[in-house]
Amino acid sequence: MRSSVKRPPTPDAEEEEQDREPTLQEIINIKLIESGEKERLKELLRERLVECGWKDEMKALCRAFARKRGRNNVTVDDLVHVITPKGRGSIHS
């Protein structure tokens, strides 16, 4: 099986390497997750992205890429790399 997803190491290992105490960011992150706020923010962001057509743009990019590569030769990783530059870029305009 192809290893199509290259994931960074899980946060636990990273945390122990860098800091004994969690950074502010991590504290905030944890707090957000715990309170359920992070999930809500994520859904809100998702909704907004759909509304403004961002998701459709990304899907079109993926489709074009899949057409070029051939439908069955595409990996999730490929698609992530296809989308990320344009995806991030078009938001922060």
Binding site: M58, R63, R71, V74, R88
Partner: protein, 178 residues
């Protein structure tokens, strides 16, 4: 405590944009995963359809360019776009509204010609009943080849100059309409 406040502000915005980036990444992965699934499962019809279209149009072009089989003469056995074959002569049978006989569709036009007027016998048929009408309208002799009397302006002198009754009477077959 002014400085830490400023720091806090910038680090706040830094933190929030960092956090936003994280959220965005997560959503990007979701979208990519969805598209990957669609591509792999062949759910996006347009992906396949385009390839099909390209292939079919190339095929059709090849067939058109091929001069060996033409559709005109051999249309008997060649399929049309719905995959149906048609016989060269239409063979549905129905009743002629003029004479009442049952006619085959493919032979209907020639039959109508004969039946309604182009042929010799039809003209005879027409004039026999129209002479009666003519006699009613004009006392003049309809058998001669005179210039037509003023009764009907659809009558025009035929140039072939036959003394046949039909040549005079019959202009466009509309003298007597069934």
């Amino acid at each position: 405590m002014a400085a830490p406040n400023e720091d806090n502000l910038s680090s706040h915005s830094q933190l929030s944009s960092q956090f936003f980036g994280e959220l965005l990444d997560s959503i990007i992965v979701d979208v990519a995963s969805e598209c990957h699934r669609i591509a792999r499962l062949g759910l996006d019809r347009s992906l396949d359809d385009e390839e099909e279209e390209l292939r079919l149009s190339a095929q059709a072009r090849a067939r058109v360019a091929d001069p060996s089989s033409s559709g005109e003469t051999t249309s008997k056995y060649v399929l049309d776009i719905f995959g149906q074959t048609h016989p060269p002569v239409a063979n549905e049978i129905f009743e002629c509204m003029n004479c009442g006989r049952s006619i085959m569709a493919g032979r209907f036009a020639p039959h109508l010609e004969k039946c309604m007027g182009k042929g010799r016998k039809a003209r005879l048929k027409a004039t026999r009943s129209s002479t009666a009408a003519q006699n009613r309208y004009s006392r003049g002799n309809p058998l001669s080849n005179h210039s037509p009397s003023s009764n009907s302006n659809s009558m025009s002198r035929l140039s072939n100059g036959t003394s046949h009754v039909a040549g005079y009477e019959y202009s466009n077959g509309t003298i007597e309409e069934p």
